[in-house]
C-alpha cells in the first residue's frame, strides 16, 4: 500500500522562468516527510508535481518502481489535503468522504463501512450528515483528512493543511495528523512554511530555497547542525557573527572581531586552516557571565522582553553587531536596559560556516540531499 517516492532531476518551468531547476529526492516508505521553506521556494509546486496538478518539464517521478510522470492525477492513487480543505460544499460530510470510494466501483456496503471507519478515526462520525458550511475549520480539516485517507492511497500529500486554523487548533491538529499518519503508516509528503510545525510532525525535513533543496535531515539534525547559513537562519533564530577561524598549536579557534578566541574541537579536517568564517549563534547559545572577566565579548542591553518561561534580551555587542539572547527567566530582577553584560558562546552548540555561508564546516552535519 504505502510506497517509496523517488524524484530524479525534476525540473519545473513557467514559460521562461525556472521554478525548480534540478531536484533530487527520495522519500522512504511510510515516512512523514516535510517540504519546508519560505513562500515562493517551490515547495507547493513540487508537491503539485507529485500530485499531477502541475506539469513536469523534466526529470522522473517514481512511486515505488512505477514512473508516474504521465499518469493522470486521478489514477495516481494519492490522497491530498488542501490548504483550504477543498470540501465539496454541496455534499454532506459522509458524501464527501464516500466520494473517492464511489469512484472506485466498490459495492455500497463496503463504501459505507470504509467511510464510517475513517469518520470514526477522525471523530467525525457524529457529524456525518452535516453540510460542510456548518462545520468549523478544524472539523472541515478532519473531513478532508478522512476523505483523503479512506481511499487507502499509496501516498498522502498535504499542502499547508493547518495554515487556516487558529494557533491553538493548529497545535491540536498537528498532533492528530501525526498520530493518524503513524497509525495508518502511509508515506506522507507535507508542505509548510512553519518550521515549528515541521519539526513537530516530521520524520525528516527538506528545507528548500529558490527551487533547490538546502538540507534534508531529521528535525534535530537540521536545527543543531544546519547544512548552510540559510538553513540556520530559516530554522529557528540565529545571530550571525563574523569572525575568523585560526589554527594555533594544533588547536582550532573561532576568533571574534574583538580578539577573543573560542576553542572549537569539531571543525572538519579539510576546513582546518585560517580563514574568515561566519558563526551562527542561536539565542540560547549565548551565556551571560556573572563574572565580567570570564566573558568572551562585552555588550550593552538595549531592551528586554519577558515571555514567562524565558526572557529575551537584545544586546549590542562591542563589535557593533546586535544579537538576541534567551535566558531562562529568574526570580531576581530583569537586567535593565543600558546595563553592561559579558557573554560567552557555547562552543559545543554554535555553528560555523564558510564565509559565503554555503557550507557548515563542523562535523556532525547529516545531509541526505544528494545534490
Amino acid at each position: 500500500m504505502s510506497v517509496e517516492i523517488v524524484i530524479k532531476h525534476a525540473c519545473k518551468k513557467y514559460g521562461d522562468t525556472t521554478i525548480i531547476p534540478d531536484l533530487n529526492l527520495s522519500i522512504k516508505k511510510g515516512e512523514f516527510f516535510t517540504l519546508l521553506g519560505p513562500s515562493g521556494c517551490g515547495k507547493t509546486t513540487l508537491l503539485r508535481m507529485i500530485a499531477g496538478f502541475n506539469s513536469i518539464e523534466g526529470g522522473d517521478f517514481y512511486f515505488g518502481d512505477k514512473r508516474i510522470n504521465d499518469l493522470d492525477p486521478s489514477k495516481r492513487n494519492i490522497g491530498m489535503v488542501f490548504q483550504n480543505y477543498a470540501i465539496f460544499p454541496h455534499l454532506s460530510v459522509r458524501k464527501n468522504v464516500e466520494f473517492g470510494l464511489k469512484n472506485r466501483k466498490l459495492d455500497k456496503a463496503e463504501i459505507r463501512t470504509r467511510a464510517e471507519k475513517f469518520l470514526k478515526l477522525m471523530q467525525m462520525d457524529t457529524l456525518a450528515n452535516r453540510m460542510p458550511e456548518r462545520l468549523s475549520g478544524g472539523q472541515q480539516q478532519r473531513v478532508a483528512l478522512a476523505r483523503a485517507l479512506c481511499i487507502e492511497p499509496d501516498v498522502l500529500l498535504m499542502d499547508e493543511p493547518l495554515s487556516n486554523l487558529d494557533a491553538k487548533l493548529r497545535v491540536e491538529m498537528r498532533t492528530v495528523i501525526r498520530e493518524i499518519q503513524r497509525n495508518v503508516g502511509i508515506t506522507t509528503v507535507y508542505v509548510t512554511h512553519d518550521q515549528e510545525e515541521a519539526m513537530a510532525v516530521s520524520d525528516r525535513i527538506a528545507v528548500m530555497n529558490a527551487g533547490k533543496i538546502q538540507h534534508i535531515g531529521t528535525p534535530k539534525n537540521i536545527y543543531q547542525r544546519p547544512a548552510n547559513l540559510f538553513v540556520s537562519t530559516f530554522i529557528g533564530r540565529s545571530n550571525i557573527i563574523n569572525g575568523d577561524l585560526v589554527v594555533e598549536d594544533g588547536n582550532t579557534y573561532f576568533k571574534l572581531k574583538n580578539g577573543s578566541k573560542v576553542q572549537m574541537n569539531n571543525v572538519q579536517k579539510k576546513y582546518q586552516k585560517s580563514q574568515p568564517v561566519v558563526a551562527s549563534v542561536r539565542p540560547e547559545e549565548f551565556l551571560l557571565c556573572e563574572d565580567k572577566n570570564q566573558g568572551q565579548i562585552k555588550g550593552i542591553v538595549k531592551d528586554s522582553v519577558f515571555l514567562g518561561l524565558n526572557t529575551h534580551y537584545f544586546v549590542k555587542l562591542e563589535t557593533g553587531e546586535e544579537v538576541e539572547i534567551i535566558q531562562e527567566s529568574t526570580i531576581s530582577s530583569i537586567i535593565p536596559a543600558g546595563a553592561d553584560v559579558s557573554l560567552r558562546l557555547n562552543a559545543e552548540k554554535i555553528n560555523l560556516f564558510t564565509e559565503d555561508g554555503e557550507f557548515n564546516i563542523l562535523e556532525g552535519v547529516c545531509n541526505d540531499n544528494i545534490a
Binding site: M80, F82, A86, F88, H90
Partner: protein
C-alpha cells in the same frame, strides 16, 4: 519531456462553440456589415453611410437617441442612488416591499409602461383630463423627449438601485467611522467617501442603463411621436410603411453598434481609474430614520416606487374594464380576456413559455461550458470565445433581429419565420449576462475543489458534472430566472422576427396596442405581468439574498 497538449473533451467543446458562434453570431454580423457596404450589384460602396450622415433627417436619429439616453442615464442615477442610500443605510419600514416592487418595475416590457403613461398623462389621459377639469392645470405634452426620458428613467432606475445596494453593502463601517474621526460627516462624507467608494458600481450601472435605454425600441415607438430615435428608424427602414431599404437599415445598425461599442470601451476605461475591491468585514449598521429627514425619506422612497409601479397597476386595472376598440367604457368584466382568448392568447402563452424555457436551457448550457473554458482552460481560442460571446452586449436588439433575418432567409439555413430563429435571437440577446454571472461564480470556486475530486479518482468529466456544475448552480439559476424575465418581455428583436406562429405575449400586447385594441392589449399585458411576477418571486425564494445579478 515536453508538455504535450492532450486531446480532451474540452477541445471538442471549444470547437463546437466556435462553430456555433461562427454560424449564429459572426456570420449574421458580417452579413449586416456586408449588406451595409456592398451594393446589390456586388460593388463596395459607402453610399448608405453617406446618405445617413449627409441627411440630417437620418443622422438626427442617432443624436436624438444619444441625447435622450444620456438624460435617462443621468436621471436614473439621480433617482436610484439616493433611493439605494436610504435603503442601505436606514432601517426603512417595508424595505422588502420597496425592493420587490422596484425590481418588478424594471422587469416589465418597456413599451407597456409607455402605453400606460399615455393613458394616464397623454392628451386624453385620465390624470391630464382630471387636472384640467378640476384644477385648471395643464401639464403639457409628455410625448417626445420628455416622455421617453420620463418613462425610461422610472423604468430603469431600479437597475441603479440594485447595483448600488451591492456597492453600499460592501462599504465597511470602519471606513465611515474613520472618516467621521477625521471630521468628515454628513453630506460631505456622502460625496467624498461613499460616492467615491461606489464609483466602479456607479459606472457599471450607468453603462447598463445606457445600453438598455439606447437600444430600447418600444418606448420611443409608443411615446416618441416626432422625436425619432435610431432603433425605430432601423425598424422603419426594414419593415416600415414608406418603402423599405435593407441596406440602409444595415448601415444604421453598423453605426449603432459602433456607438455602443465606443460607450462600452469608454466605460471600461473610466472603470479602470477606480480599480479597487472591497469586502466589508463590518457592514454598515442600518440606522432608524428620524425626524423630518426620516419623513422625507419615506416620502421619497415610497413616492418613487408608487410612481414607477403605477403603470403596471393601471394596466391590470384596465384589463378588467369594459372596452370597445380604443375606448374604455364604464363597468368591469372579463370581456378583454375573452377577446384575448380568441386572439391567440393560448398560443402566445405557450410560445412565451416554450421560448423562455428552451432559450434559457440553451443559455445555461452554453454559459456553463464557456465559463469553464474561459476560467479553467484559458487559451487563445477560448479567450476569443469569451470576447465574441460578449459581442451581443453591445448589439441593440433590433440589430440582432435584422442580422438574423438577413443571414437566414435563404437556404441552406432558411430559418426566417420559424420558432427556431426566435429562440436563437433570444439566446444571443441574453447569453452575455448569464456568461458573466457563470464566469464570476466559477472564479470564486477554488481550483483545489476540482483537484480534490480528481485526486479522489474522479475523471475530469465526472468532476465537472458532479462537482463543478452543482457548485455553480446557485449563481447561475438565480441569474437565469432574471434572464427568463428578460426573454419573455423581449420586443426589439422579436418584432422583426415574429409571425403568427411564433407570436409571444409581449408581441400580442404590442400588436393589440398598435392596432388600437387597448383593452385587449391591457389583458395581454396583465397576463405578462403575472408571469414576470411569478418568475421574480421564485427568484427571490431561491436566491434568498437580495443580490440580484442582471
Amino acid at each position: 519531456m515536453i508538455k504535450h497538449k492532450r486531446l480532451e473533451i474540452w477541445t471538442f467543446v471549444t470547437i463546437s462553440i466556435f462553430l456555433l458562434f461562427a454560424v449564429f453570431l459572426v456570420y449574421p454580423m458580417v452579413g449586416i456589415l456586408k449588406e451595409s457596404i456592398i451594393t446589390p450589384e456586388g460593388n463596395f460602396s459607402l453610399e448608405q453611410f453617406k446618405k445617413f450622415f449627409s441627411n440630417s433627417y437620418y443622422s438626427q436619429t442617432i443624436i436624438n437617441s444619444f441625447k435622450v439616453t444620456i438624460a435617462v442615464t443621468a436621471m436614473t442615477l439621480l433617482l436610484g442612488i439616493p433611493f439605494s442610500y436610504f435603503y442601505s443605510f436606514y432601517r426603512l419600514k417595508g424595505a422588502k416591499f420597496l425592493f420587490i416592487t422596484s425590481v418588478l418595475c424594471c422587469m416589465s416590457a418597456p413599451f407597456i409602461g409607455a402605453y400606460a403613461w399615455i393613458l394616464l398623462l397623454g392628451r386624453a389621459g385620465v390624470i391630464t383630463v382630471w387636472l384640467k377639469e378640476y384644477l385648471g392645470i395643464n401639464i403639457g405634452s409628455i410625448y417626445g423627449f420628455t416622455g421617453i426620458m420620463f418613462v425610461q428613467a422610472f423604468k430603469l432606475y431600479p437597475l441603479v438601485f440594485i447595483y448600488m445596494n451591492g456597492a453600499f453593502k460592501n462599504i465597511d463601517n470602519t471606513l465611515l467611522e474613520a472618516s467621521a474621526n477625521m471630521g468628515c460627516v454628513g453630506i460631505k462624507r456622502f460625496f467624498k467617501i461613499i460616492m467615491n467608494l461606489s464609483m466602479p458600481t456607479i459606472l457599471a450601472a450607468a453603462l447598463l442603463v445606457f445600453m438598455r435605454a439606447f437600444a430600447d425600441f418600444g418606448t420611443p415607438l409608443v411615446i416618441g411621436e416626432g422625436y425619432r430615435t435610431f432603433p425605430v428608424e432601423i425598424y422603419n427602414q426594414y419593415l416600415g410603411e414608406n418603402g423599405t431599404n435593407h441596406s440602409f437599415a444595415a448601415a444604421i445598425s453598423v453605426i449603432a453598434i459602433l456607438v455602443t461599442a465606443a460607450v462600452f470601451f469608454l466605460q471600461k476605461w473610466a472603470t479602470n481609474k477606480f480599480k479597487f475591491s472591497m469586502s466589508a468585514l463590518h457592514p454598515v449598521e442600518k440606522k432608524k430614520p428620524k425626524g423630518i429627514m426620516g419623513i422625507l425619506m419615506y416620502i421619497y422612497t415610497y413616492g418613487l416606487v408608487a410612481i414607477a409601479f403605477l403603470p403596471q397597476v393601471y394596466i391590470v386595472y384596465l384589463s378588467f374594464r369594459n372596452c370597445k376598440g380604443s375606448v374604455f367604457l364604464e363597468g368591469y368584466s372579463l370581456i378583454n380576456y375573452e377577446a384575448a382568448a380568441k386572439k391567440l392568447l393560448g398560443r402566445s402563452i405557450k410560445n412565451t413559455l416554450l421560448f423562455g424555457v428552451v432559450a434559457l436551457a440553451i443559455i445555461i448550457v452554453l454559459s456553463v461550458l464557456i465559463a469553464y473554458l474561459v476560467v479553467r482552460r484559458s487559451s487563445i481560442a477560448n479567450n476569443i470565445i469569451d470576447t465574441v460571446s460578449m459581442l451581443p452586449y453591445i448589439i441593440p436588439g433590433s440589430v440582432v433581429g435584422i442580422a438574423l433575418v438577413l443571414a437566414f432567409s435563404k437556404k441552406p439555413l432558411a430559418l426566417t419565420g420559424t420558432i427556431t430563429i426566435m429562440i436563437i435571437a433570444l439566446v444571443i440577446r441574453r447569453m452575455p449576462y448569464t456568461i458573466r454571472s457563470a464566469t464570476a461564480t466559477l472564479m470564486q470556486i477554488p481550483m483545489s475543489i476540482e483537484e480534490a475530486s480528481i485526486s479522489l479518482g474522479a475523471s475530469k468529466l465526472k468532476t465537472f458534472i458532479k462537482i463543478t456544475v452543482p457548485m455553480m448552480t446557485n449563481g447561475i439559476v438565480s441569474g437565469a430566472i432574471l434572464s427568463f424575465v428578460a426573454i419573455v418581455t423581449e420586443l426589439s428583436s422579436a418584432i422583426i422576427l415574429y409571425n403568427n406562429r411564433s407570436i409571444t405575449l409581449t408581441m400580442s400586447t404590442y400588436v393589440a396596442i398598435s392596432r388600437g385594441n387597448y383593452g385587449l392589449g391591457a389583458a395581454f399585458a396583465a397576463v405578462l405581468t403575472v408571469f414576470t411576477t411569478i418568475a421574480l418571486l421564485i427568484y427571490l425564494a431561491i436566491s434568498k439574498s437580495e443580490d440580484i445579478k442582471l
